[in-house]
Amino acid sequence: MKMDFMGVHHIMTDRITLNYEVSAEDFTRAGEASSDVKKKLKQMGVEPSTITKVAIAMYEGEINMVIHAQGGQINVVISPDEVLMKLADRGPGINDIEKAMEAGFSTAPDNIRALGFGAGMGLPNMKKYSDEMQIETEIGKGTTVTMKVFLS
């Protein structure tokens, strides 16, 4: 359905798609995408504790794209039922997913640890805070993490 809303030809929609480019060049910008999503979810009226789940899961994924891969794209689709997050990078891929999922496991180098990252809790937290999570990875090609948080 199409409607005219004060001059904008707007296609009525029950979902909204947000795309973010995550750059690994500037470390200090990591977390910007999840912070933007958080702000928008508040404006949309999503329940506060659900926003926390999305914000934490996405933040950890975003940080991983920056410190373990060379950045990538995040695609977020918000509908009345769920928030779907797809984080795709063209990094080195994950060798052993089971191992990577273990609490405390990390391959982060010392300089990254010095910044307070690399505690090995990222993937476990993503699993904990999302309602569904799926990892597709290929060595040398990249990793795509898909997470869902249900809204109702």
Partner: protein
């Protein structure tokens, strides 16, 4: 009283409609409409940033005139600890307190005295409520107001203990009534405040039903008058002080937290820094912190917009002054009376602070998503310059305003220009 009352107001005559305040406001509560700034009250947290930035002095705080002292038969002055940071070479706060009496107050009651009691109670509360760690300070009213509109997840972390000024007011009223036999309406409990936020906290308190403060004066109004009386007071100093290091230290950022006698705290000042801390706290990025002290103003209350001294200079002055003070005066004999008074007053909040989702775009999720996608459509049409010419601080804010129905697309001068070009092209075709 309106639950979104704000002390910060606009002086229409002085306002030139420039974009300084709309750019600086941390909650984007200000727009320029019809050439004048206007504050959306429900977004405003009374932090005073616009008062600081306005080059035309068109933003002002509402508070009481000095003459309010004459409205009561008996008055008690409640000086904020930040007042002590305003003076050069002050080595005895009793000079300030004596001068307040000479200025016309019948009695004085140091807010820093109550602050020490709050510190003691907070210590116990923090110890007992590990499940709420980190506990967030609530002495700065701007912070509570910020959290209630923007950080609903953090409401449970708030320290549910009255701010020192409210506790001081309750005790001061009780003591004044006992001492004079006067009825409550004849007694004026008058706070000398560093900021407009405290005015709002008195008019529309959060956490408690009613504040015992009757009137609020600005430090900057009291200061010049007080200076004269301080010269006189030096020779007749009365021993009126009821606080030590911990209480007076509350005037500086970090003072409240250090009163908890723990190292596991974070203290932040300046509203933008505070917002960053709250964002991180919301994302659970802190572990092992027991307490978070937040001050809307740089350097703490000494940086309040109604003070006179440079905040960092005032901070040093307080630090020097408290150096040789006793740690606290809670257990000195002269505070015994006070301890008793406080036993009869409930120092805790009596109601929860509730989330006010003022930034929400729609009434339900479906509508929210619909409106947000409309916002995105508008943003694509705007040039992304955040020029402020439309009266909104950013293109994003204008898009949200349009969707909320309070602005129009042609408020964007680039869109307007395009429209004018189109019309003039059509017009020339007619010729």
């Amino acid at each position: 009283m309106d639950k979104f009352f704000t002390s910060v107001q606009l002086d229409e005559e002085l306002c030139k409609g420039c974009i300084n305040c709309i750019k600086r406001c941390p909650t984007q509560a200000i727009r320029v409409r019809n050439g004048k700034a206007c504050i959306t009250k429900k977004f405003c947290i009374d932090c005073g940033e616009c008062i600081r930035i306005c080059p035309h002095h068109a933003k002002k705080a509402t508070y009481d005139p000095l003459s309010v002292m004459n409205d009561y038969e008996y008055t008690v002055a409640l000086p904020a600890p930040s007042l002590y940071g305003q003076f050069n070479n002050l080595d005895d706060v009793n000079i300030v307190l004596t001068a307040l009496k000479r200025m016309g107050f019948d009695d004085v009651y140091e807010v820093s005295g109550a602050a020490e009691l709050v510190s003691e109670m907070s210590r116990k509360y923090v110890e007992k409520h590990k499940e709420k760690w980190p506990i967030v300070s609530t002495a700065c009213p701007s912070i509570i107001r910020l959290i209630r509109v923007r950080f609903p997840n953090l409401l449970d972390h708030l320290l549910p203990i009255q701010a020192p000024v409210d506790l001081a007011a309750a005790v001061a009223r009780q003591q004044a009534m006992e001492k004079t036999g006067l009825s409550t309406d004849k007694i004026g409990i008058i706070f000398i405040s560093p900021c407009p936020a405290k005015v709002s906290a008195v008019k529309t308190p959060l956490g408690i039903d009613k504040s015992n403060v009757d009137a609020v004066l600005a430090i900057k109004d009291v200061y010049p008058v007080l200076l004269g009386f301080m010269k006189e007071a030096v020779d007749h100093i009365e021993d009126l002080s009821i606080s030590g290091k911990i209480g007076v230290g509350w005037g500086n950022c970090g003072g409240e937290a250090s009163g908890l006698l723990t190292d596991n705290y974070l203290a932040a000042d300046g509203i933008e820094n505070v917002i960053r801390v709250l964002e991180d706290l919301e994302d659970e990025k802190f572990s092992n912190l027991t307490f978070i002290e937040l001050n809307a103003c740089s350097a703490g209350c000494v940086g309040g917009v109604l003070t006179v001294e440079n905040p960092y200079v005032a901070k040093v002055k307080i630090k020097r002054m408290i150096k040789y003070m006793p740690v606290a005066m809670n257990h000195l004999p002269k505070k015994e009376e006070l301890q008793k008074a406080y036993l009869s007053i409930n120092p805790f909040w009596t109601s929860r602070v509730e989330y006010e989702p003022v930034f929400k775009l729609g009434d339900n999720l479906k509508e929210g998503i619909e409106k947000m996608s409309l916002v995105e459509d508008y943003i694509k049409k705007f040039p992304g310059l955040d020029c402020g010419a439309c009266g909104a601080p950013t293109c994003q804010a204008l898009a949200e305003d349009i969707v909320r129905g309070v602005a129009k697309e042609k408020d964007c001068i680039y869109i307007l220009k395009q429209k004018i070009h189109k019309i003039s092209d059509e017009f020339s075709e007619l010729e």
